[in-house]
Amino acid sequence: MNHHYLLPDVSQPGKMGCSLPALDVPPTELPPKELLRQELKLPEVSEVELMRYFAALSKLNYGVDTGFYPLGSCTMKYNPKWHEDIAKLAGFASIHPLQPEESVQGALQLMFELQEYLAEITGMNATSLVPIAGAHGEFTGLLLVKAYQQDRGDKARKKILLTDSSHGTNPASAVMCGFEIGVVASDSEGNVDMKTLESAMNEEVAALTLTMPTTLGLFDPQILEISQLVHERGGLLGADGANLNAFLGRVKFGELGYDYVQLNLHKTFSTPHGGGGPGSGPVCVKEDLADFLPSPLVIKNDGRYKFVSPAKSIGRIANFYGNFGVMCKAYAYIRSLGAAGLKEVSENAVLNANYLKEKLKPYYYLPYDRTCMHEVVLSGRRQKAKGVRTVDIAKRLLDYGLHPPTVYFPLIVDEALMIEPTETESKQTLDAFIEAMKEIARDVEENPEVLHTAPHNTPVRRLDDVRAARNPDLRWQMRD
């Protein structure tokens, strides 16, 4: 059987995928009929059919364990297997969030120490582990900005500045916090254009959020001038920490002048991405913002750990304490690497990216020809001139059994190809990728058709997005 069937296709009345116990107490009266459900249409499948169905699905998927996954800005590094086992220990997985604190001291200790490690790694004073993903962390960071500015009576600051190369979540998060947006341009070197920042940074601006290194994979050497300017004008400087892998164990956001940073444990700290989550997006802050952090934090008092709500907390942003299971894995990662190991991570990530940059720049246009950090942004504009789009290059890479880079982002690079190899890839793997990219560049000249029609040997070929959006088919219905 191929994969083109769905659960209702294997469903037959009377089947079930597991066994359940019988009732061991006398049954009670059922509630009034108006409350009761008449019918429940769910598939009925046996365990073996269920497992075969999902096993077949998994074979259609490409993960880090399948091969190279140089998705820029996503830090698709290898996920150590034993970290998964740690999160599954009964003492971590089978505990209830509302248990008495005394009965979960081990979990609280892990959270407390992780708060401390992340503050140390970022050069900040306090950490909230509650944000569940990167964008949730951005939202939290901006609420801190809002609370801080209002607390000191600065109510006119209604604007957040961000750069034209920022992630889409940055402006979306600002709007969710009731802010307006101002955009600061990048200069020809890919750095912040100081002139635009200078004129935009006025008394209406609550904060500048600046990814570092930027989404162009470049470190902005003006960072100290930027933070000084922002602070002089009464603003705060916040970091989207998606690119921390570039200087992990080497540079501290706090020393760059940042007031807060949002991290992605599912990127930098090796927890798997799960096909779109679970993530974890802790926020680390300087002293001035610590009182505003979301509730709760874990503190240590007389050798015991407990939850507290900071004095001027922005309140709750999630039902409990964040994605504890993900925290367990990140904790294991930090403890197994230590300070020196973290530094090796960023060194190898930057080495790998620069190697790719040097080897690929003869074949693809490099818009910013300077040392890159953990990722390199190329442009497919030469190929576009020959009628081949970046999307074609990406799809052709699939034929080589490689996952393509991020494409068409950042928006300020025409036909962008954003390549982030990470430190967990070998030179051999990088060389295979380089060879594929060279062959593709050659095919653009000699055989462009093979690119236009790519991919050829994937489970499905190019899919019709327009049809999907025009005639939404978003679910199956059960037959009677």
Binding site: H4, L7, G17, C18, L20, P27, T28, L36, R37, P43, L50, M51, S58, K59, L60, N61, V64, K88, A90, G91, I95, L98, Q99, P100, Q105, I132, G134, A135, G168, T169, A172, V175, M176, L218, R250, V251, G274, G275, P278, G279, P294, R316, A318, N319, G322, N323, F324, L337, G341, V350, L351, E358, L398, E423, K427, L463, A468, A469, L474, R475
Partner: protein, 437 residues
């Protein structure tokens, strides 16, 4: 013998690194960091010394063992996180590394596993809730409810959110954070009282925080009468036997999907189930997967309705959500498919009958009573003769995690939760200890 071991996660050898540096044309890795001002480039980090896999596993097992887990203790605690049975199929599917080590499925051709799995999840979420469309999930039940309230404000172009007084208090806090962030306003109302005509929505919970159920149809009708949307927060397991929100006319229905195949895990990862009526599809937050065909006409799946999303629409997106809880949604799909229609109904009925058995036995005890005499599902509030904290301590001494102390809301009250995981023996022991007060 050497003490220096190579890192298992850094596959390049020193020789590889030297060769790469030569190709780049620099003498050392240090030179690659030259854009960073020198004084910022060598920060010191105080972190514990690294340990090997073997040593850390041992240490972390010890740390895990400091926690009291369901392995050794009976649990009667609910209040938003629930100890339900998880069939092994769930772990074995989501543990397949092609699925759990993938990113968001931007490259649909090599992500059909994730995408088709999401399509199954969306379908199952709709079957379960009786709603017309589902997204791929939000962070948890509380943020799903918060984003639902914002969505209602956008749809109705009104800035006021009404919350039933019986919504879980922590949900209320989260919704309030989100609503105020957006500069909208929020207030609580008794279910059944009239709403002011400038309300965007009424948010109600079924079963509510105290565990009991109400006929929702009249409340939905009243909400619709003033042109507002009705948002239901539901317990997904309860839908195995109780009327789903789609049947009583909810416009948006959300739930915490943790109970659907995910461990309690100290509160996360959870899953925010988010479903609504078809007409509001384009105002929905979050990822949505649709079925389509490839160039050869073969069926396949893609992320669709993407013009709602932040990576396309930036500040005009319906939400900032990007990474969510996709793997937990897959777990929910596997859970629902494993149990199927009979299994889910059976689990719901086990919860119902067991909870009622425990409630009836407790109500017979001197000094105890049920706070509400209304139909309930698996949670119920009891009034105790002494402070619940004292009772919980006694239970704890007998290897039982007691109920949620809600004496700050109702005098001497405790919220107990009984699921299919609680045996008659455990309940009898609970009743016996309660009887000692």
């Amino acid at each position: 013998m050497t003490n220096m071991m190579p890192s298992p996660y850094l596959p390049n050898t020193d020789a590889d690194r030297r060769a790469m540096l030569r190709e780049i044309g620099v003498g050392s890795i240090e030179e690659l960091f030259r854009d960073i001002p020198e004084k910022l480039c060598h920060a010191q980090f105080k972190l514990p010394s690294p340990l090997s896999e073997m040593e850390l596993k041992k240490e972390l097992s010890k740390l895990a063992n400091c926690n009291v887990s369901f392995d050794n203790y009976a649990c009667f605690l609910g209040g938003g996180s629930y100890h339900h049975f998880i069939p092994s199929t769930v772990e074995h599917v989501i543990g397949r590394s092609e699925l759990y080590t993938a990113y968001t499925p931007y490259q649909a051709e090599v992500s059909q596993g994730t995408l088709q799995g999401t399509y199954e999840y969306q379908s199952l979420a709709c079957q379960l809730t009786g709603m017309e469309v589902s997204n791929d999930g939000m962070y948890d039940g509380s943020t799903a409810a918060a984003e639902a309230a914002i969505m209602a404000c956008m749809i109705t172009k009104r800035g006021k959110v009404a919350l039933s007084t019986t919504v879980n208090p922590t949900y209320r806090d989260v919704i309030s954070t989100y609503i105020k962030a957006r500069n909208f306003s929020i207030g609580t109302v008794e279910l059944g009282s009239s709403l002011s005509s400038d309300c965007a929505c009424l948010v109600a919970q079924q079963p509510n925080f105290f565990g009991y159920l109400e006929e929702m149809k009249p409340h939905v009708q009243k909400t619709h009468d003033i042109g507002a949307l009705f948002i239901a927060i539901v317990d997904p397991i309860s839908l195995g036997m109780f009327k789903p929100p789609g049947h009583y006319g909810a416009d948006i229905a959300v739930a915490d999907g943790q109970a659907l195949g995910n461990p309690t895990s100290c509160g996360g990862p959870g899953l925010g189930v988010f479903t609504c009526r078809q007409e509001y599809l384009r105002q929905m937050p979050g990822r949505i997967v649709g079925k389509t065909v490839d160039v050869e006409g073969k069926p396949g799946y893609v992320m669709t309705m993407v013009t709602r999303e932040q990576y396309i629409r930036r500040e005009r997106a319906t939400s900032n959500i990007c990474t969510s809880e996709a793997l937990m949604a897959l777990a929910a799909a596997v859970y629902l498919a494993t149990l199927g229609k009979r299994g889910l109904r059976h689990v719901a009925e086990l919860c119902y009958h067991k909870a009622h058995y425990a409630a009836e036995e407790i109500a017979k005890l001197k000094g105890y009573s049920l706070v509400f005499s209304k139909p309930f599902f698996k949670e119920f509030a009891i009034r105790c003769p002494v402070a619940p904290s004292r009772i919980n301590q006694a239970l704890f001494n007998e290897d039982i995690i007691g109920g949620l102390d809600i004496s700050h809301i109702i005098d001497n009250a405790m919220l107990l939760c009984v699921t299919e995981m609680n045996t008659k023996q455990e309940m009898d022991k609970l009743v016996e200890i309660l009887g000692g007060f």
